[in-house]
């Protein structure tokens, strides 16, 4: 039976849409659009490129309306025929594909690259902060969690510090799962009372050898001013429950410098054996997106002054249609972020020609 060109009709619009909607890379959608005339028509008519963009960036649904209005301002001719609508759909297809590609070099996901330090660790390396990168609380027959040292005073806090995947990340949520000691009588959960997050960059470049790295992972009293914190979150209460608790930041935060601090405030669980309070964490996850901005951060001196190194290499797109995506069609959200970044840096950054 000759199925040529008819596969989409054969399966029907719903099924074909379902298949193509499973593609989560805008490049795949664009390529699908160039397979044949009927596919071209199908992808554009059904707005698959836009659907994908909204799926990955639900925030854009607020601005999608604006983009469409801009596109509909056609010079002089307002016809009621197909072609104006078709032009709009084609433009949507191009713009949304480009947008998705430009904003997502990496898919939204876990932004933690590696742990840097824990304020204390009870048994290193068995209970190292490294374990908090592993989502399971058990790997084969070994438990996977970080544990602080015990304290008799439940108000002693702990901090965990992580390096994120890029120097610039937009963080929306942080997830923390406290650890339930399934091997102890009563299955105690060693959560904290509350948690607070900070983001920033290190005063001195972080470069350590193996020994120093171990020492930091095991126990390190960071002096508060070893980092410049550009953001401090509100305090979130933590439940004494063995589940991945999601702490949504009041608004997405641009982390400049790629350092995240998790501060665990107040201990709630005593260990029966020694009567001391511990905090144990099974998993930490930072939800957000890394941005391929053509900037790099360089710390200039211990006082914390930093410079932004601008590297205007082409980051995401070599297409000739770059010029057709104007300021107006970038989501206002992204523009606001860029503006905020500029403001922040104006207050700290050093002019390039300063000696």
């Amino acid at each position: 039976m000759d199925n040529r060109g008819d596969f989409l009709q054969l399966l029907g619009r719903d099924m074909s849409t379902k298949i193509l909607n499973h593609l989560d890379d805008p490049s795949d959608v664009v390529r699908a659009c160039s397979v044949s005339r009927s596919w071209h028509r199908f992808v554009i008519e059904n707005g698959l490129s836009k659907q994908l963009c909204l799926k990955i960036f639900p925030e854009i649904s607020n601005v999608a309306h604006i983009i469409e209005v801009n596109n509909m301002i056609e010079p002089a001719k307002i016809s009621s025929d197909d072609s104006a609508e078709w032009e709009r759909l084609k433009r949507d297809h191009r713009v949304y594909a480009f947008l998705t590609r430009g904003l997502t070099p990496f898919m939204r996901g876990d932004c933690i690259s590696e742990p840097i330090s824990a304020s204390s660790t009870d048994n290193y390396p068995g209970e190292s902060i490294q374990n908090t990168l592993e989502p399971r609380d058990r790997v084969e027959d070994r438990a996977s969690y970080w544990s602080s040292k015990g304290e008799s005073d439940p108000s002693v806090p702990e901090t965990l510090i992580y390096k994120l995947v890029a120097n610039f990340c937009v963080v929306t949520e942080i997830h923390v799962q406290p650890f339930q000691a399934y091997f102890q009588y009563g299955f105690p959960i060693y959560s904290s009372k509350a948690v607070r997050f900070r983001m920033g960059y290190p005063r001195r470049p972080l470069r350590f050898d193996e020994d120093k790295r171990d020492a930091l992972l095991a126990a390190h009293e960071w002096m508060d001013d070893e980092f410049i914190w550009t953001y401090t979150s509100p305090e979130f209460p933590m439940a004494q429950e063995n589940c991945l608790q999601k702490f949504k930041l009041p608004e997405p935060v641009l982390c400049i410098g790629g350092i995240l601090q998790v501060k665990l405030l107040g201990r709630v669980q005593r260990q029966e054996m020694d009567g001391l309070y511990y905090i144990c964490v099974s998993h930490v996850q930072v939800v957000g997106r890394s941005l391929l901005l053509p900037f790099d951060i360089q710390v200039l001196d211990p006082s914390g002054l930093c410079a932004l190194i601008y590297q205007p290499k082409t980051v995401c797109c070599k297409s000739s249609t770059q010029s057709s995506v104007t300021e107006a069609s970038m989501p206002s959200h992204f523009r606001a972020l860029t503006e905020r970044l500029m403001q922040l840096l104006r207050s700290r950054a050093v002019v390039a020609n300063r000696v």
Binding site: N3, L11, L20, H22, S27, S34, A97
Partner: protein
């Protein structure tokens, strides 16, 4: 034994026996399918429920399905039901749940690997006709996986589609979104 065309009322079958239903494909295949598996085919299920009777040894003809496809469908649905039962039994035990999930993923990967592109397409049409939701979702995902990060030429070959663009049109499309055509897997 009542002959074809005459419907026989049967007393309620005890749970211990597994009823089978006979399915005949359009190319002469005959399959005795366990009832629980056959009931996954919603096209059959509604037929049974509409009629409001329990049939014994009824033979049903499936006009749009061939032997090869039906045997694959039965294989998948039988395993799917098994995994469903194992999952239910493992509920609450995170390790056991994970093991069942991994076993299932292993089976599905192998199942799909053995399918040619042609077979995958035929299966989708068959499963769509039989109305088996879970298997359809699985096949759809598998097709998407086959397109993902593949060149346009590969996709055309997979779906057996003719390139009906003029060279100029194709050029224009490529230029509009040139970034999308880089970095695909080798065919």
């Amino acid at each position: 034994m009542a002959d074809d065309g005459v419907n026989t009322k049967v007393e309620a079958v005890s749970k211990a026996t597994t009823e089978t239903i006979e399915l005949r494909t359009e190319d002469g295949g005959v399959f005795d399918v366990d009832k629980p598996v056959a009931m996954e085919f919603l096209i059959l299920k509604s037929f049974y429920e509409d009629e409001g009777r329990v049939f014994d040894k009824t033979s049903i003809r499936l006009p749009n399905v061939k032997q090869l496809e039906l045997s694959k469908v039965i294989e998948y649905c039988t395993r799917a039901l098994e995994f469903g039962a194992k999952s239910a039994a493992a509920a609450g035990d995170k390790d056991a749940e994970r093991m069942v999930r991994q076993e299932r993923e292993g089976f599905e990967a192998e199942f799909v690997d053995e399918l040619s592109n042609e077979m995958l397409k035929e299966l989708i049409l068959a499963v769509n006709f039989l109305d088996i939701k879970e298997m359809l979702d699985f096949l759809i995902r598998s097709v998407a996986n086959r397109i993902r990060n593949r060149s346009v030429a590969y996709v055309r070959q997979f779906f057996d589609i003719e390139n009906d663009f003029t060279p100029q049109e194709e050029d224009q499309i490529h230029q509009e979104n040139a970034w999308a055509f880089e970095g695909v897997d080798a065919d």
